[in-house]
């Protein structure tokens, strides 16, 4: 979580300094939710389809920081080799599918991965998880994917981070239901609500849902309420977010809450946290420095191959 925040702060400065082309999308304010999910999953076994604001979840799941910096900075040594950027990275063979931009589209992909695992005899035991935003719940792909997973009774955990906005669009232009958790019943799956700014609540609720999926309980939906604490991307100042909302219950910073919860609950001392913060700051620095030194793609030697198949011509 901390690492993610620090990494993202760094990405933001790199973007503002013109070192990153394209866009930078941050998960500020969503770290508690995302990290709780990533931490509840087991790398090498489970599947985590991270979305746009899941740096914290990725880190918690075990994605190395360098994957992030390499992808943002376009290093050819990164998992996407400069072919795709930023949050679109992944390592599908390590349980980390690489998102396409089209919202909602990853839900059925994770379902398919789980479906395959079942055919291979690996279920129950494995969990597949993905996050979506409030806006993504309006997509047909989300609906089809969740419904299919429910019908197939797959161990899919869907975390909906209702951060009150989809880009600039507030939830009243997105849906009319009282609470998105009401959708769960319509899919015939359990739904849970959680305050996304409350780290301990997130770990508990999400951790339990993951456990239920793991034990054969079928798909689980968690709806976390919170507020996006940045613009949609770093090009956006988010000036449309009303001050009242920022001052409201979801406006608090989950990282601060988590730090307090850690110390108050005696999970860690203030000193330990500070030391940890220094350590992660170093790690981030190193990951950025390393990626910056690495080669970027060379169009002249690049392979332009959209297919893995090579068609040989007869002589």
């Amino acid at each position: 979580m901390l690492r993610a925040r620090q990494l993202e702060n760094k990405l933001s400065s790199l973007y503002k300094a013109g070192k990153i082309v394209g866009g930078v999308y941050l998960g500020r304010g969503q770290e508690a939710v995302s990290a709780s999910l990533g931490a509840a999953l087991v790398q090498g076994k489970d599947i985590f389809a991270a979305l746009i604001r899941d740096q914290a979840g990725r880190t918690a799941f075990g994605e190395p920081l360098i994957d992030c910096t390499r992808t943002y900075l376009g290093s050819v040594l990164g998992p996407m080799k400069g072919r795709d950027g930023n949050i679109h990275r992944g390592r599908p063979l390590d349980g980390m599918p690489a998102m396409i931009s089209h919202l909602g589209a990853q839900v059925s992909v994770v379902a398919g991965m789980l479906f395959a695992r079942r055919m291979k005899g690996e279920l129950p035991g494995v969990v597949g998880a993905t996050c979506v935003g409030d806006g993504a719940t309006s997509t047909g792909a989300f609906h089809e994917g969740v419904n299919l997973a429910a019908m197939e009774k797959l161990p899919l955990v869907i975390v909906v981070a209702n951060n009150q906005f989809a880009y600039s669009t507030s939830t009243d232009r997105q849906f009319a239901c009282h609470d998105l958790v009401d959708r769960a019943r319509g899919y015939g799956i359990p739904g849970y609500s959680v305050d996304g700014t409350d780290f301990l609540a997130c770990t508990t609720v999400i951790g339990e849902a993951v456990q239920r999926a793991r034990n054969g309980g079928g798909p689980q939906m968690i709806v976390a309420k919170l507020l996006r604490l940045s613009g949609h991307g770093e090009h956006d100042d988010g000036s449309y977010v009303p001050d009242t909302m920022k001052a409201g219950p979801y406006g608090r910073d989950c990282i601060e809450v988590a730090m307090r919860q850690m110390t108050e609950g005696r999970y860690a001392t203030v000193d330990e946290l500070a030391a940890w913060q220094d350590e992660t700051a170093d790690e981030v620095q190193r990951a950025v420095a390393q990626a910056q030194q690495e080669p970027i793609p060379d169009p002249y030697t690049a392979e332009w191959n959209a297919l893995s198949t090579q068609f040989f011509k007869p002589e």
Binding site: P79, M80, K81, R83, D84, H88, G90, R91, P92, L93, P97, A98, I100, S101, H102, A105, Q106, V107, S108, V109, V110, A111, G112, M113, L114, F115, A116, R117, M119, K120, G140, A141, E144, G145, N147, L148, M151, N305, A306, L307, S308, T309, F311, F312, K313, P314
Partner: protein, 333 residues
Amino acid sequence: MECPFHPILQTRVSVTYIDAIREAQAKLLREDERVFLYGQDIATFGGAFKATKGLAEEFPGRVHDAPISEDAMIGLAVGAAIEGMRPIIEMQFADFSSIAFNQIVNQAATHFYRTGVPVPLTVRLPSGGTPGSGPFHSQSMESIYAHYPGLIVLTPATVSDAYHMLIDGVAMQDPVIYCEHKFLYRWLKAKSISDDHLPIGQARIVRPGKHATVVAYSAMVHEAVRAAERLHEDGWEIEVVDLRSVKPLDMDTVLASVARTGRLLAVGEAFPWGGVTAEVVARTASEGFHLLDAPPMRLNARDTPVPYHPKLWAAHRPTPESICEAIRQLLSF
């Protein structure tokens, strides 16, 4: 050598195009445990066209009825392919793949380029027009998918190709769009299927000739052959090339044929703007300009949705008559 067919088929006197598709799937299921089928009404019911008849019973747990969720069906296939499976997805009609368009062109087609991980999945598209099937059960979408990098687009025209290309397509590491023509399903029959077959990526000279080349694919191959037969009565020898796959497109065979004949007509059942015939004619003009003795020609369906009424439908797509007419025009230069 004959293929080791399922007993049902061995006792038949002839094999239809749809039998071949069913048998190819049976063989794949039998021989490769990574293969599974997912599609609407394909399990107990055996599919809207019976292409999977009996397979659910024969291969328990390998043939699944899908909900009416084409987008999620392809998403599922991509996910399963990442995990090493070889899903075959049946679209009930090619036309409904429009719902899965995003997952096909943006998820499946880009996956290997983006991540280095291939997604070997096959989408079966029951394609093309039949009388009375109307605007939404008649479409030919090969040109749409061929436009996108990262997809292999197969368009078998014969019983043997329907069989072998499905098997070879499923064996490929990349996403395959397998366009099977509904009109050929039961109409096209073969005595048997031999093991000999061309690899994917090679076109085939269906009928040799020297006065003009007609390039076609899928059902139009048969209409082109009929046209060639009629013109034969008048002494013309028309070479007919079956593209077999529209991506990859075997321009070598096309150009070699045009080198012999000096004349080209490309025939397709799809809509007239762009598409296979444009690609074939454009590439022939670019790569084989000096081979051409006359302007290359195209014949496509008309520029309207596919009409419902059989009378309109028959005038919407190319027919032996209209192909003959086009060839005569081509020969008159």
